[in-house]
């Protein structure tokens, strides 16, 4: 009986270590890295695409105001106190006959800041997932093992004896300690991802209708320029049905608009919200597997990529067609 107790006591630390290491090894941050990485890249692309679309809205609005100025419906003046030697800024104001003023160059700061905040959040998630803290801690402990051996040897030399510790034992202890510490840090990373996604998810779900509406509003403004171009080319062709060039221009305007309509769908933000919800649930061990979350993220990434590609191409092709 005494022997059995001794065996139990002796095996207890090993059992604890086994339980601890099994628990720690269960959820590696490496598993989530690709999904978090892809989510962050896609979010950044969606944000960039939105910002570019919003610039079109602002440029288009400024152009409408300029047209009103040229037609004499409004007049341009300076913002009071601006454009002087001691002023902080210099800005044109547009005034209508009732005296209502609007700036010529408007900005939508809050929606942009919200988008940037979500992109920054995704980048922060990425920083947690890709942090090499576990490897660094393991490497530091391994380096410490070398120092301990050197220290032991030096102390032994001072005392005039041989080293007190077996080098192999020090290495083995350091390896175990390094592995456990590395796994502990890994667990901290996974916990940080869990907490962050759980905190951010309600915010992202609440932001979804607003982001969708903002994207829809921006997209309809971009579309308006193309719709006008199609109308103009349709009419030019109607007036000269035998003119091959007119037919080609009409066809091209239609094809261009079709590409834009199919590429600027605001569904990208819907996909972002679904992807984030699935990632949150997968991290929390709810009913969503990591594979499902990765598939939703991939869907979002594809939409974000194609929207970004299209918006960049539109920008490069220089603005929506001129109004006729």
């Amino acid at each position: 009986m005494q022997l059995v107790d001794q065996m139990r006591r002796a095996s207890r630390p090993r059992l604890c270590l086994a339980v601890l290491t099994t628990a720690l090894a269960g959820c590696s941050v490496n598993t989530y890295k690709p999904a978090v990485d892809r989510f962050a890249t896609a979010t950044h692309q969606a944000q960039d695409a939105y910002t570019k679309m919003e610039s079109t809205v602002l440029a288009s609005h400024a152009e409408t105001l300029r047209q009103q100025l040229l037609r004499g419906e409004r007049r341009a003046t300076l913002k009071p106190g601006s454009c002087k030697e001691q002023s902080k800024d210099c800005e044109i104001l547009i005034v209508d006959r009732k005296g209502t003023t609007v700036p010529l160059h408007e900005k939508f700061e809050n929606i942009n800041l919200l988008m940037s905040g979500i992109a920054a959040y995704a980048a922060n998630l990425q920083a947690i997932a890709t942090s090499d803290a576990p490897q660094q801690v393991t490497a530091s402990l391994s380096a410490a093992a070398g120092s301990i051996k050197n220290l032991d040897a030096a102390l032994a030399s001072i005392k005039g004896s041989t080293a007190s510790q077996d080098a192999a034992v020090i290495d083995a202890s350091a390896n175990i300690a390094g592995w456990v510490a590395g796994e502990y840090v890994n667990q901290l990373q996974v916990d940080a991802l869990r907490k962050a996604t759980a905190r951010a998810n309600p915010v992202i779900q609440k932001a979804l209708p607003i982001l969708q509406e903002a994207a829809t509003s921006a997209a309809t403004t971009v579309n308006a320029g193309y719709a006008e171009q199609v109308d103009a080319q349709r009419e030019a062709y109607r007036r000269a049905p035998g003119d091959r060039a007119a037919l080609d221009r009409f066809e091209k305007a239609v094809l261009d608009f079709d590409t834009v309509l199919k590429g600027t769908s605001p569904a990208v933000f819907d996909a972002m919200a679904v992807a984030h919800r699935d990632l949150t649930d997968a991290l929390a061990g709810k009913n969503v597997t990591l594979a499902d979350a990765s598939a939703a993220i991939e869907e979002f990434a594809k939409k974000a990529e194609s929207l970004h590609k299209l918006v960049v191409a539109l920008e490069a092709a220089a603005k929506p067609p001129e109004k006729k």
Partner: protein
């Protein structure tokens, strides 16, 4: 979602639907004038041309209205309480993640410091041993 943002979105959706429906009506009328003349293999009569021009001008105004609606919707959403609140929430989320990131960095620094101290001690002891 706060009430004000919900209202802005509903108004924008309803206005877009109204404008789209108006565009469809205008297009049907334009198409009817053009098809009638084409079926009879003739040009538009002066009356048809006037009507056609009026309808096209109205269609042009709907494009302008879509532009203006997009701008006004973004402007009102941008200044809505809901967007400001979400902005504060996401900032708060980011503050907490940054604090977790600092924690990870601090652990790494601590392990590196401990390793450096041991290394320093080993070197010091080695120096003492060479003196002994």
């Amino acid at each position: 979602m706060a009430q004000d943002a919900q209202q802005i979105i509903e108004i924008a959706r309803a206005t877009r639907a109204h404008l789209s429906s108006l565009q469809l009506d205008l297009e049907v009328d334009i198409e009817a004038i053009e098809q009638t003349a084409f079926a009879e293999d003739r040009a538009l009569t002066p009356a048809e041309t006037t009507r056609h021009d009026q309808l096209r001008a109205a269609l042009g105004e709907t494009h302008e209205a879509f532009r203006e609606l997009g701008f006004v919707t973004l402007q009102t959403l941008d200044s809505s309480t809901a967007v400001r609140r979400l902005l504060a929430d996401i900032k708060d989320v980011n503050r907490q993640i940054e604090s977790d990131l600092h924690r990870l960095q601090n652990i790494t620094k601590f392990a590196q410091t401990a390793s450096s101290i041991l290394d320093g001690l080993a070197k010091l002891a080695a120096g003492l041993a060479s003196l002994a």
